[in-house]
C-alpha cells in the first residue's frame, strides 16, 4: 500500500473513533456536539498566520514590544488581540534568530504548534520525516528548505514536548527601515516563524 493510501485509511480510522467518542459523551450528557462545534469554530476562525505576522512585524518596529514578546509572549500577543488561553493552558514562547543563532521548531511526539498564531500546521510539520530529522540533522533539513546557514551559526532546536508553544522571531531583513508595520508583516512567512525560512 502506498503511504498516501495508508494515511487516508489512518485518518478515516481516527475520525471514526472521534465520532464514536463524541456520540458516547453526548449519550452520557457530558457534552453536546453543538457546544463542541462552537469551541472549535471560534478557535479556528481566529487562528491564522496573519496573527503571527503582525506579532513579528510589531517586534521588528517596536523595541519595547519585542522585549515583552521575548519575555512573556502569551502576554505580549494579547496586546495585539491574540488570545492564547484557549481551553488548554499553553504558554507561548518566542525565540529570536540572531547573527549567531538560528531557531527551529518541531514536536517530535506529535504535532504541537502555535495554531492561534500560525493557523493549522502544514502537512510536512506533522510528517515522521520532519519530526525525526529536525532534531538529528537540523542543518540538512534546513538546507532542503533552502536555508543555508553560515558554519558559525548555531542552531537551537525547540522540541514542543509539553505546554510551551514556540514561535520563531526571524531577523528583520536588511534594507527595510522605511517600511510600515503592514509592509513588514507582508514579508513574514509561516515557515519563517517555524524556522524553515529566514523571514
Amino acid at each position: 500500500m502506498t503511504t498516501h493510501a495508508h494515511d487516508h485509511e489512518r485518518s478515516a480510522e481516527v475520525s471514526n473513533r472521534v465520532k464514536r467518542l463524541v456520540a458516547e459523551l453526548e449519550r452520557r450528557d457530558v457534552l453536546e456536539e453543538s457546544a463542541l462545534d462552537a469551541v472549535v469554530e471560534s478557535f479556528l476562525l481566529n487562528a491564522t498566520p496573519a496573527n503571527g505576522k503582525r506579532a513579528v512585524a510589531r517586534a521588528w518596529s517596536d523595541a519595547g514590544f519585542k522585549e515583552r514578546l521575548l519575555d512573556d509572549a502569551s502576554a505580549a500577543v494579547a496586546e495585539i488581540g491574540v488570545d492564547m488561553s484557549h481551553w488548554a493552558p499553553v504558554k507561548l514562547r518566542a525565540v529570536e534568530n540572531t547573527a549567531r543563532r538560528h531557531n527551529l521548531i518541531v514536536c517530535t511526539l506529535c504535532s504541537c504548534y502555535p495554531i492561534a498564531l500560525l493557523g493549522p500546521s502544514p502537512v510536512w510539520y506533522k510528517s515522521e520525516a520532519y519530526r525525526s530529522r529536525a532534531v538529528r540533522d537540523p542543518r540538512g533539513v534546513l538546507a532542503e528548505f533552502g536555508v543555508k546557514l553560515a558554519p558559525d551559526v548555531d542552531i537551537a532546536v525547540w522540541d514542543s514536548t509539553a505546554e510551551t508553544r514556540y514561535i520563531v522571531l526571524p531577523a528583520r531583513p536588511p534594507e527595510t527601515e522605511n517600511l510600515s508595520e503592514d509592509e513588514l508583516a507582508a514579508l513574514v512567512t509561516r515557515n519563517g516563524m517555524i524556522g524553515t525560512a529566514l523571514a
Partner: protein, 91 residues
C-alpha cells in the same frame, strides 16, 4: 520546585508502559535547566485517566547535540519541555 535555572540534570532512563511526554531520544541524557515554565497537570497521569492529575513543575531543558547524538552531532542544541519527575539531579 526541585531545580533552579542552570542546574545540570539527567533525564530518567525508563520505558513506561503508558503514555509519556519524555521522548525516547532524550532518555538518560544530561542537560541543563533553561527555564521554569510553570506547574501543569502531569501529562502521563492525565493520559492514564486521572482527571485530577497533580500539577508538577515543567522545565525547559537544554541539551547539547553531542550529549544526545554523540561526537558526530551538528553544532546544535535541543531544548524540550520536561516534567520534574522525568529528571534527576546531577551533582
Amino acid at each position: 520546585m526541585q531545580f533552579n535555572l542552570g542546574d545540570r540534570v539527567r533525564t530518567r532512563l525508563k520505558n513506561p508502559e503508558g503514555h509519556t511526554r519524555l521522548p525516547a531520544y532524550l532518555r538518560g541524557r544530561i542537560g541543563r535547566i533553561e527555564r521554569v515554565v510553570g506547574a501543569f497537570p502531569f501529562s502521563d497521569e492525565r493520559a492514564a485517566g486521572h482527571t485530577a492529575a497533580k500539577p508538577q513543575t515543567l522545565y525547559t531543558v537544554c541539551f547539547a547535540g553531542r550529549d544526545v547524538w554523540g561526537d558526530d552531532a551538528q553544532a546544535a542544541t535541543i531544548s524540550a519541555d520536561l516534567f520534574e519527575s522525568y529528571l534527576e539531579p546531577l551533582t
